[in-house]
């Protein structure tokens, strides 16, 4: 059987599981059955996708046409290298989330609101990737959005969650509308909606620009590009943690896939300025996302904002690839695209891991607010270890995987002085600076996330009484922790696996990495630049353990526990520790006065006055205030005005319809 058919069967089985879940979800044994079944199907699909990715070069591409959907079109499904890569990302995340759910799901208070939608969500994401015509693509895209909306609504009694879900729904529909219009333009006057025909169309520059804008709105809003990110930090944390992991780690990648599919594959030759636009959006997104994350005290929302940052990094890579491709620099384009795709994979690893960790903390303490946690490293040693690895990896520090993709992106930036356009010449170093800034801010952000949550002394009773979580959750976290290390130390294998994708999309590939001695990675050629994660890891592990054992053997191993020193002035109250807000305050002072319009005021009562001193911090979200509030206000205003149209007589309605018809016919007559 063809791989595409096998994956299709997997999707069908997932939908079947979903139906089964509707029937049995209220029975106590439903949770393990549903997650177990989802797990096995995801593992199957993962195996097929991996097989397809490895053999992509040799296997012939088949398009499966099924008699669904539009009668004259049918449903086209295809599994090429790009789709295979994204299927790997999706099903790896899905399998781990299902496994995590086996343990985490036991604490779920409303499983009947979660279980039916979970497998359907997995099915929807898989189907988007397989789709090879606009109708199937949009249908599955919207299905994915709606099902994930239902998942955000799992705990619908919380008013915040309802608001998050509402905003998500509005943004998702808006995004789909933009994609619908984009596909309409791509299909052209003939209305050929299958991707194979779309590829053959040539487009005028105006159409290209319009399609790019619409795709940036449609896929960008799903991925969380600034300023369309507004729903993401609300909706992702509202869902149960393994669903948050899926939404942040995987669903945003489906959006990235949508962007790549349309802009790199369907739109044909890119213009150079398209690279510039994408670059700028990516750079801004990265910095704005991570600055928001730094200011956050809710652990899950911090992770969601950090997702926005990572999406920014991915789009910087994609923008570079577009710019290089437009100037026929295939090698550099392949490098930039491979960096972006590598980061897609990496982000799915560490963001899932971190959301699993946040979920474990939530289970153990019932808290998402970091200021009410602390000292969990003693009570939850395994969770904190896994979370630490995720934090190091996402901060782009060697020898973990985040550094490799960041390094590749920097190497791609260093290829760009040869670009001929002045706009790009100025934009690329600026974006390089933004990227460097966001990497440094990310490290600060995750020092804070780990330090406040897991280190120090417990700030509340809940944190003090925390306990380690179940084995399933731990295994799911450690799988990703190991993957972070493997991808960081053996990146050459992954880069080689990406070669068919870059060959298909930009017509170039990076040099074969597995033949480089010592398993180093080289972006352009040997002797140019190289990095060897494996050796770095081995050196660090070796020298650290060697030093530790030497010191213990020859110097001293005596150890005494005593109260903390703290300059001789230890404070017993745990409230005196640094909190998330105080930790971020210096950074807020440096970067926040512009972006957040942060204003600090201290009211110090006069000496002898018994009133307490007051410190107030005012922050504003300029994007929300500047973009969304006016739009919402305008919609509200128009709705108010049009309200009376709802209360007309039937005669008036009919005349309205008639009038509309006449006007439309007139327009048509004048048009042609």
């Amino acid at each position: 059987m063809m791989p595409v058919a096998v994956v299709l069967w997997c999707i069908a089985v997932l939908l079947g599981i979903s139906v089964l879940a509707v029937v049995i979800s209220r029975s106590p044994g439903a949770t393990p059955v549903i997650y177990g079944a989802s797990l096995s199907v995801s593992v199957g699909a993962l195996a097929i996708a991996l097989f397809q990715l490895v053999t992509a070069a040799s296997a012939p591409l088949v398009t499966l046409v099924l008699p669904f959907g539009l009668p004259w079109l049918g449903a086209h499904l295809r599994l090429d290298a790009l789709a295979a890569f994204f299927l790997v990302v999706i099903n790896l995340g899905a399998a781990a989330a299902s496994f995590y759910g086996l343990g985490y799901g036991r604490h779920e208070t409303a499983p009947h609101r979660l279980l039916p939608f979970f497998p359907a969500f997995l099915a929807g994401m898989n189907l988007v990737i397989l789709a090879a015509d606009a109708f199937t693509f949009l249908l599955s895209w919207e299905f994915m959005s709606l099902v994930s909306w239902a998942l955000v609504m799992t705990h619908h009694r919380d008013a915040d969650n309802r608001r998050a879900a509402y905003i998500y729904l509005v943004m998702a529909s808006f995004g789909t509308l933009a994609l619908l219009l984009g596909f309409g333009l791509l299909a052209g006057a003939a209305g050929s909606y299958d991707f194979a025909t779309m590829r053959t169309h040539g487009h005028t520059p105006a159409v290209t620009a319009l399609v790019l804008t619409l795709t940036l709105i449609g896929a960008g809003s799903k991925a969380g590009l600034v300023p369309l990110h507004i729903w993401l930090p609300l909706a992702h944390p509202a869902a149960p943690s393994h669903v948050s992991a899926l939404m942040s780690g995987v669903m945003t990648k489906v959006a990235v896939y949508g962007f790549i599919r349309i802009v790199f594959d369907l739109l044909g030759e890119p213009a150079w300025w398209s690279g510039m636009v994408v670059l700028m959006l990516g750079g801004v997104t990265a910095v704005v996302g991570i600055l928001h994350a730094l200011m956050e005290h809710d652990l899950k929302r911090l992770l969601a904002y950090s997702t926005i940052e990572n999406i920014g990094i991915i789009f910087v890579g994609l923008g570079l690839a577009l710019a290089f491709e437009a100037n026929a620099m295939e090698l550099a384009a392949a490098l930039a695209l491979a960096a972006a795709l590598f980061h897609v994979l990496n982000h799915s690893f560490f963001k899932s891991l971190l959301f699993f960790g946040a979920g474990a903390v939530l289970t153990a303490t019932g808290e998402r607010n970091m200021d009410k946690l602390g000292g969990l490293i003693h009570r939850m040693p395994f969770t904190s270890f896994a979370f630490l690895i995720g934090a190091v990896a996402i901060s782009a520090l060697p020898p973990f995987n985040g550094f490799v993709s960041e390094w590749l992106t920097f190497q791609a930036i260093l290829q760009s002085p040869n670009l001929p356009q002045w706009g790009l010449k100025i934009m690329v170093p600026a974006v390089g600076g933004l990227l460097a800034l966001s990497a440094a801010l990310a490290a600060a952000c995750f020092v804070k996330a780990f330090g406040i949550t897991f280190l120090g002394r417990p700030r509340t009773l809940a944190a003090e009484r925390a306990h380690e979580v179940d084995r399933f959750s731990l295994v799911a976290m450690f799988v990703f922790a190991v993957l972070c290390l493997v991808a960081g130390t053996l990146p050459g294998i992954i880069i080689d696996a990406l070669a068919p994708v870059t060959l298909a999309l930009v017509g170039g590939r990076m040099p074969l990495q597995t033949s480089v001695p010592w398993l180093s990675i080289v972006p352009i050629s040997e002797g140019h630049s190289s990095y060897n994660g494996l050796l770095v890891f081995v050196f660090i592990a070796f020298s650290a353990s060697l030093t530790a054992s030497c010191v213990h053997l020859f110097a001293s191993r005596a150890l005494r526990r005593a109260p903390a020193w703290d300059c001789g002035f230890p404070e017993s109250a745990t409230q005196t520790q640094y909190t998330s807000a105080s930790f971020a305050q210096p950074i807020l002072r440096v970067f926040g006065t512009l972006l957040f319009q942060a204003r600090e005021t201290v009211q110090m009562p006069a000496p002898g006055d018994p009133r307490p001193a007051r410190f107030t911090l005012k922050k504003r979200d300029l994007i929300w205030e500047g973009v969304y509030e006016p739009i919402a206000g305008a919609v509200w205003y128009i709705a108010e005005r049009l309200n009376h149209v709802q209360f007309l007589t039937i005669r008036r309605y009919l005349s309205l319809v008639f009038l509309a018809l006449v006007i439309l016919l007139l327009v048509l007559a004048i048009w042609s």
Partner: protein, 318 residues
């Protein structure tokens, strides 16, 4: 045979940076003392301090976790590995291609990440203040460093330090504005990263302005020794880095005879001495700034790095 010799050279490099690092710090302290007309401790005092600390027992705070105990060794390892890759007296060492300049900066970033975490581990306000300020400084110093690296990489066509050194010594580089800016930015970053005056004061304690010392306040005994040694290594690393890029003379090429290596070593020690004297002079001549002046200082470094990179991008087509 050649392989063994290469490995020996690499080993000599790793040992030399480790052995020279405390001496360098001792030397800087000695010169600073003499500039202030004090006698000052002997230049080999840091070795004595390290040995004394190593022999002492560790007094560990009651709620310190395993991370607190592992961190000193990790920080030391990160810094040592980074320092071993920089060409000090010879280029193209056996493992020099393991990590390029970006990776070296990132390795130091890893060390800082763990040190900042260790500062927060015990849960004291001093640790928190140190970590919080350290990451604030890093958020500006790291991008400035990376932009400087971009500048160098664009001139040399590679991020590999040995290649950069080779290009810098070749005649066709000449004097460039970008290079000057990169040098100034790199020095500013080096001052901030090593917690030197005017950003931080390495000699201060019990003061609310401190950053690095606040983070390591709870450390004692062998743990403190490792952290101190890592700090010594970091200072050596930055001086070696600047001298390898901007004073790349007398670096022994691979396959050169034993005399070349010895000459390289002598030149390297001379470069370190020059760096130490300049640092001591600069530190005696300036006063420490307020913490919230530091962003302006590092912001200038960031802008210089940005400008240098931009100039190179723009001048490529002229």
């Amino acid at each position: 045979m050649v392989v063994i010799f290469d490995l020996l050279i690499q080993g000599a490099q790793m040992a030399s940076v480790l052995l020279l690092a405390p001496l360098l710090t001792g030397f800087v302290r000695k010169i600073k003392a003499r500039l202030l007309r004090r006698q000052g401790p002997s230049a080999i005092q840091p070795y004595r301090d390290l040995i004394r600390l190593l022999r002492k027992e560790v007094v560990l705070a009651e709620n310190a976790s395993w991370l607190f105990r592992v961190t000193p060794y990790l920080i030391f390892a990160f810094t040592w590995v980074a320092a071993s890759i920089i060409p000090t007296f010879a280029t193209d060492l056996t493992f020099s291609w393991t990590a390029d300049l970006i990776a070296i900066a990132a390795l130091l970033g890893s060390a800082r990440f763990f040190l900042a975490l260790a500062g927060m581990d015990v849960g004291t306000s001093f640790g928190g203040i140190g970590s919080s300020r350290e990451v604030m400084i890093a958020t500006l110093a790291e991008p400035a460093m990376l932009l400087t690296i971009f500048t160098l990489a664009l001139i040399a066509g590679s991020t590999q330090l040995s290649t950069i050194a080779a290009v810098m010594i070749s005649s066709h580089v000449g004097l460039r504005v970008s290079l000057g800016m990169a040098l100034i930015a790199l020095i500013m970053v080096a001052i901030a990263e090593n917690a030197r005056i005017p950003v931080d004061n390495p000699a201060t304690h019990l003061e609310l302005t401190m950053v690095h010392e606040a983070m390591v306040l709870e450390y004692s005994g062998r743990h403190l020794a490792m952290i101190e040694l890592a700090a010594f290594l970091k200072l050596l690393l930055y001086i070696s880095l600047i001298s390898c890029i901007f004073l790349p003379w007398n670096l022994a090429a691979p396959g050169a005879g034993i005399t070349a290596y010895i000459l390289g070593m002598v030149a390297y020690i001379a470069k370190l001495a020059i760096g130490a004297v300049l640092l001591a002079l600069f530190e005696t001549a300036t006063a420490k700034m307020r913490v919230f002046r530091v962003p302006e200082f590092l912001g200038a470094a960031l802008m210089l790095g940005m400008l240098a990179t931009l100039l190179l991008f723009v001048s490529r087509s002229l």
